[in-house]
Every structure is written in structure tokens, then in C-alpha cells.
Amino acid sequence: MSTTQIDLETAVKQAKDRLDEHTYNTVQRHFHDSTGCPFWLSKKSELNFDPLTEVKVYDDLKKFPLFEDDWLRGGPVERWRMKDHADRPTYVFETGGTTGVPKSRVVVDDFRIDYEVFSETLPDEYFPKGGNWLMLGPSGPRRLRLAVEHLAQVRGGISFCIDLDPRWVVKLIKKGWMEHLEEYKKHCIDQAVTILTANHNIKCMFGTPKLIESLCLGLEERGTTLAETGITGIFSGGTEFTPQWTRYCVEELFGGPPEESGIYMTPTYGNTLMGLACSKPVTAEEKYKISYYAPQPRAVTEVVSFDDHNSVVGFGETGRVKLTTLTAEFFVPGFLERDEGEREMPFETFPWDGVSGVRPFHEIAAATTVGVY
């Protein structure tokens, strides 16, 4: 066994120990009468075990039933507020919501912490400190807009935003109003181009894959390129990523890998419930394979068997993505994402499980409108 392997094994063990300890502390906090939120304190009585005494390590979370995201719909949202956060300024962020009551998540500090953690993973060479940001993503009651703004601020920059209502985009698709959809996309890109060409010293941006593509094509139509606007770092996410799209983006829209084009893009995976999973650097040598690693111990992604959601599949095997969130203000013990993928090995930077090839879960993919903005 090589030294590197021993180091990795040690790192994996340390990460696991840290996760167990973090799990214990988080569960204590969420189920203690002095700190817990009304939802979990009330749920405790429905459980056939006592979380305070019977959850000692991460694996003990399997005792909980799967988290149902429908629990997040409707009010009062205060039921999710931790008792010791009652006096803290509170945000509510929504997810989905094209029809019916959207899911809500109450947040005090989490989005800031998540993005500060994420900030540590960004290479300064391409995401220069002090550089300003463009937020080319959804506006409205979404966490992403404020999170990106905080990310920019943490790194000493200012974030410029556009107006983009993803719920209207979904409606346009459902109605089949494709011309309106195109016009709305142009409207968003026009806003972005206006910002990028107004001398704001923008170096970094967030964008969804589709909007990055549209922006690059829009700039080309105007006789310029993304590189010429001064952008060097892109953090992308929000919708499904594929290796082929990433390759197309790097090779054709950016003009080559970072060392040639000067543009570095890092795909991410996440949502309002979890936060942000980073990707292992994506390279042509690895055929643009995208492997995500959750920000453990604050959140954990596992790839579980389609039949047994408490059983992790083997490395390289396919399963459903299961998410666990363990922060001081939000507890999600096992939520089945609407995605599937392959389980990835830990590595030095992230010595815990990852997931690659993320795509809509095959059983519900046909009924889902993905990648809408």
C-alpha cells in the first residue's frame, strides 16, 4: 500500500469521525427543547426512537423515515425556525412553485456559511479577490441570488444581477410558447450584456448552463467573446450538467481549457435544501466527467440503491441521490433527490463519497421539466 493510499485512508477515516461527531451535535441541537424548531420537536413524538439518546453516529440517521419535501410547503414557516434563532433576522427561500404552493426553507445564516465554505474551493487565479460578479441566474424568492451576492462580497467584490423569473419560463414551456421563450431568453441575455459592457470590472460570474451558452452566443452575435468581456471565473449550476455540454462549452464557447482561454468554469450541484456540492476539476483527460462532492459534514450526498434507500451502492454503480443536511439551523435526515448518478471514490480534496453523471431519476424524468433557465 502506497503512502498516498494510507494518507487517503486516514483522511477518509478522519472525515467519517468528523461527520459522526457533527451528526451527534446537530441532532442534539434539533431535538433539544431549548433549541429545536417546532417542526422537529413535534415530529419527535411520532418517532419510535429517541433521537437524543439513540443517534450517536451518522449511520444512526437511518432510523429516521425519509424526509418528505412536502413538509416544506405552506405556513407557518416559523415552525422551521430554531428556538434560539427566534430573534435573529430570518429569510425564507422558495424552490419550485410553478403551480401550487412552493417549498420554503427558513434561513438565518446557512446560505452565507455555505457560500463561504464554497469560496474556499475557488482558485484565486480565475476568481480574483476584489473582482466584481455577474449573477446570471434566477431572481425572486430564491436563495441563489443572495448567496452569490454574499460570495462576491466575501471575496471583496460586488455582484450585479438581472431580473429572471424561472416560473414564467416553465409556464412558457408548458404552454408551448417557444417564441416567447426565445424572447425572454434574449431579454435576460440583453441585461447581462448591458452589465458586462458597462465598465463594471466584472471578472466572475454565476450562470446556469443554458444561460452561459446563450450569453456566449449573444456575445458572438455582437462580435465579441466572453473572454473579451474580462470574465475569467464561472461558477455554474442550477440545472443539469452533462460532460458533453461541458466539453462543448470549454472547447467551443470559451475557446479551450483555462490555460488557453483564460476562463475557468466549475460546475456545482445543489439546491435550496442542501447547499452546494463542488466538483472535482473537470478535464478533457477525464472526458469532462463531472463528479460532485457535498460540503461535508454540513451536507452529505449518498448514492443509494433504487430498492433500498438505506443501502449505498458500490463505487461506480448507479443509484438514487440521497441528501442529508446537518446544519445548526436545518436538519434533513435523508431526502431522496429527483436525480440519479454513479457513486464516486473519495479523493484527497474531498475524502468522502461523491456522485457523478447526475441526471434526472429515470422513473420521473419523463414527467419533469428540467433545465428551464
Binding site: 452533462t242 458533453q244 455540454w245 462543448y248 464557447l253
Partner: protein
């Protein structure tokens, strides 16, 4: 296994995403096809103008000759295909294996494509109504009656989102290259064969490969193609038709709802026309939009339904290589069952009778595919839901309907065969705007005369006729030149 790349203006592009084309009966993978992505298409379309520039270096006459040469290559030769080659026989086997269509039908569709490629001069003459083809190339010219005309190309390329389940539609886009326009095709996921083989034959016949792009892929590819090409065609369902209705950039080809009308003056002799009716329903596995899905008559409808059922009802699926195989397989899991459930719902309505009921179960499920045996329904009136339905297998409703209500009750009809000698009614049929192709007399709906301008005339779609005035001396020079 064949590896088939996307083709970007003649250059192969191996995608990181691929889909397998599998044999419907054995599950064996026949080819692995690269999937493009939408953005790639949109970006490539920026260079669409080059395709027309390249093709305009050839005369239309020259291109017609090359396409005719391509017909021979398409029909007989071993041609490059991705990582390997494909013989003509392999083409037939591959197409049958992935679409479920019997091999003899694939061969027949192949011949149909070749006919169009070989007879391009005549077909273009018909589509242009005898116009000097140089006018299309130059953009203006002198008509034979001595008037300056201009036909302005509306696009440098034609885009087409091709179907997976109906290899007979390719004839519609074949005349595009001779019109000096490039081709941008999204082949159907189960039927990449024709588009690739035509491209290969064109190249071998001397047509520059840079004028053709082939983008297999998902819905985003189709969407990007339709958005970025100034003119494109798509083949799909009624939903697709509704979605693109009124979009001048997109020509939609969907269900045909083709019909046979038996006039009161002929209907008592209906037995004489039984062969015409059976052929119209059954040929090509009932998969074409030109297959008859409705037979309208004012009397004898029960007898007609029973007589057709007697001919079609006993038909069983046969292996695809069998020369008498007449039914096409549904190659996607559960599709046959789902379609039959829809038909059965309509068959249970009041006033409807399944004339094929005595001939046994209609659904034949095999390990990896399913078949639906022919269904002949009798409907007491055109108000019955089933009277306005079309399905992808030999299916027809024989509808009892007074002659004076038939035209209106027929609704949208791609091919209408009216068996009558009643001149007043023929006049009404001629004026009926809901009937596209009209046959007067016992002509099966599937027998198209390619030398007749047809639905969605390609010239009207790709060119715009406009006023073009010139001083008289220039007109004279034009005449002289």
C-alpha cells in the same frame, strides 16, 4: 458495432454522449450514435450561408445529375458509415431491425427515395410548374410567357427533424440539395440510416460534404434546429402540428387522416373497390400518413367493414425478413399495449363495433416488442370519436355518413380518394379546402404520383415569389442571354 458520429458541415464529431440503436427483436446493439447538443447546432448554423455558396458553384442541372448518380450508389453500393461501411442489403436489415418495419417495406421505401433522386428534373418541374430552374439559382429571370419573375431563396439550408418510426418520409427533403441549399438533419433515434446513407451517397457522387450536417440527439437538438434554421420541417403528432401552426419558418408533417369517400352513385358496387380500400389501409404496415384511416359511405358500411375485416383481421405478425410480413413492430416497451388501450376505449363507445373482433386478440406481445393486428371499426356516424382517429398500424373506421355531409365530417384529410362520377359532388370535393391531395376514382390513398405538386410544396416553402422590375433593355438582354 458501428460508431456513428454527428456530422458538422461534413466533419465527423464524436460526442461524449451516445445512444445505442438496438435490434428490436434481439436487443443486440447495432450502432452507437453520437448525440449532439442544442448549442452546438445553434452555433454551427452561423455558417449555414456557406452551404448555399458552395452549392451555387454548381449548376442546378449538374446537382440533379449528381443526385441521380447518388441514387445508384444509395441503392446498390457499399458506402462508408461512421466507423465502418454499409451495403445496400445491410441498410435494409439495419432499418428493419431498429424501426420494426418489415424488410420488404424498407426496401420499398429505399426504392421510393431512389425514384425521387433519379427523377429530380421531372419532380422539380412539377414543383415549380415548369419554371426555368436557373431562375431559382439566379433569383430572377424571364418566364416562358415573357414576364420577369423573381423567386428569392428564404434560407441557405433546410433543417429537418426526422421521425424514428416512418422511413418513408425522406423523399420530402431529397430535392433540397439540387435547389442549391444545404441540409441540416436531425435523424430519428431509431432511424439514423437513411440520412447518413444519403449523405454518404451524395458525397461519393461529388456533392461537397460541407453542405450537410447531421445532428442526432435529444429534444434540445430538434428545438435548436427549428429555431436556428430559417426554414425547417418536422414530423410529429397532432400536438407538434398545433405547436408550430402559423410559424412560417416551420413546415409540420403529422397525421394524415387520409380517407376514402364512396359516392352514392358507386357505393352499391362497393365490392369492386375492396382491393383499393384494403391496400389503402394495409400497405406499409399502416404507418404512413397516406394510409387510409377512414372510409365514408352512406350505406353498406356494415358489409364493407366486415369485408375488410375478413381480409385484414386474420393477419398475424411474421418475422421482419419474411416477404409476406405486413405488420410493423412497436419497438418501445409498452407502446403497443398503450395504443391498443386507446383504440379499445373508442371501440366501446355507443354506435361503434369492432368488425375484427371475431379474428382474435389484437395485441401480440413478444419478448422485446409488440404488434397490433389490424383493426376495422364500424361507426354509425361521423360523431363517433373513432371516426376521426389515426393510429400507427393498419386501422380504419368505416363510417356511415350521408354523402352531403361527408366533406365537412371528414375534417382535415391529407389524401382523399373519392369514388364517384357525380360531377356536382366532384366540384364540391375539388373546392373542399380540408382535403389536400384529391384522387377522383378508385386510386388507393397510398399511391402518390410524385410528378404532382403536393402538400407543403417545397418551392413555396423555400422561395418567395416577388415583383422584380428591370429596364426593358435589360429584359431584352436577359431574353437573349
Amino acid at each position: 458495432m458501428l460508431e456513428i458520429p454527428a456530422i458538422r458541415w461534413g466533419k465527423p464529431y464524436e460526442s461524449l454522449e451516445t445512444t445505442e440503436v438496438v435490434h428490436f427483436n434481439t436487443g443486440e446493439a447495432i450502432a452507437r450514435v453520437s448525440s449532439a447538443n442544442g448549442g452546438l447546432v445553434s452555433r454551427d448554423m452561423r455558417k449555414a450561408g456557406e452551404a448555399r455558396k458552395i452549392l451555387k458553384q454548381f449548376s442546378i442541372e449538374d446537382l440533379i445529375a449528381k443526385v441521380a448518380q447518388a441514387a445508384d450508389l444509395f441503392e446498390n453500393e457499399t458506402l462508408p458509415l461512421g466507423s465502418g461501411t454499409q451495403t445496400a442489403d445491410e441498410f435494409v436489415v439495419h432499418q428493419s431491425a431498429s424501426t420494426g418495419l418489415p424488410e420488404h417495406m424498407c426496401r420499398s421505401n429505399m426504392q421510393k427515395n431512389c425514384f425521387v433522386m433519379r427523377n429530380m428534373t421531372e419532380i422539380l418541374q412539377c414543383l415549380t410548374r415548369g419554371l426555368d430552374l436557373n431562375i431559382l439559382s439566379r433569383g430572377y429571370g424571364m418566364e416562358s410567357r415573357g414576364v420577369v419573375v423573381s423567386l428569392q431563396a428564404q434560407t441557405p439550408v433546410l433543417g429537418a427533424v426526422l421521425p424514428s418510426n416512418s422511413p418513408g418520409v425522406h423523399t420530402l427533403w431529397l430535392p433540397v440539395v439540387p435547389l442549391q441549399m444545404g441540409l441540416v438533419l436531425k435523424p430519428g433515434s431509431s432511424e439514423p440510416w437513411t440520412a447518413y446513407r444519403v449523405a454518404s451517397a451524395f458525397e461519393k457522387a461529388g456533392i461537397p460534404k460541407e453542405v450537410i450536417s447531421l445532428y442526432p440527439g435529444g429534444h434540445d437538438v430538434g428545438g435548436a434546429l427549428l429555431t436556428s434554421c430559417s426554414r425547417s420541417m418536422i414530423f410529429g403528432s397532432q400536438k407538434t402540428i398545433d405547436q408550430y401552426a402559423g410559424n412560417p419558418k416551420v413546415q409540420v408533417h403529422g397525421p394524415g387522416f387520409s380517407k376514402i369517400f364512396l359516392g352514392d352513385d358507386c357505393v352499391d358496387d362497393w365490392e369492386k373497390y375492396l382491393d383499393v380500400m384494403v391496400e389503402s389501409v394495409y400497405v406499409n404496415g399502416g404507418r404512413s400518413c397516406i394510409n387510409c384511416s377512414g372510409i365514408f359511405a352512406s350505406r353498406h358500411t356494415e358489409e364493407i367493414a366486415d369485408a375488410i375485416a375478413q381480409r385484414l383481421g386474420p393477419i398475424e405478425p411474421l418475422p421482419p425478413e419474411h416477404p409476406d410480413s405486413g405488420l410493423a413492430a412497436f419497438t418501445t416497451d409498452g407502446v403497443g399495449k398503450a395504443i391498443l388501450a386507446m383504440v379499445q376505449q373508442d371501440l366501446e363507445a355507443d354506435g361503434v363495433r369492432d368488425a375484427t373482433e371475431p379474428y382474435g386478440d389484437r395485441l401480440v406481445e413478444q419478448e422485446r416488442c409488440s404488434y397490433i393486428r389490424p383493426i376495422v371499426a364500424h361507426a354509425n356516424s361521423p360523431q363517433c370519436e373513432i371516426a376521426s382517429k389515426e393510429f400507427m398500424f393498419p386501422f380504419v373506421s368505416v363510417v356511415k355518413c350521408p354523402q352531403n355531409q361527408m366533406i365537412k365530417a371528414a375534417g382535415s384529410t391529407l389524401v382523399g380518394t373519392a369514388i364517384t362520377e357525380d360531377m356536382d359532388w366532384i366540384d364540391q370535393l375539388t373546392d373542399a379546402t380540408n382535403i389536400d391531395r384529391l384522387n377522383i376514382g378508385p386510386i388507393p390513398t397510398n399511391r402518390l404520383n410524385w410528378l404532382q405538386p403536393h402538400e407543403g410544396n417545397l418551392i413555396d416553402f423555400l422561395f418567395r415569389s416577388r415583383a422584380y422590375q428591370m429596364p426593358e433593355e435589360k429584359v431584352a438582354a436577359l431574353v437573349a442571354g
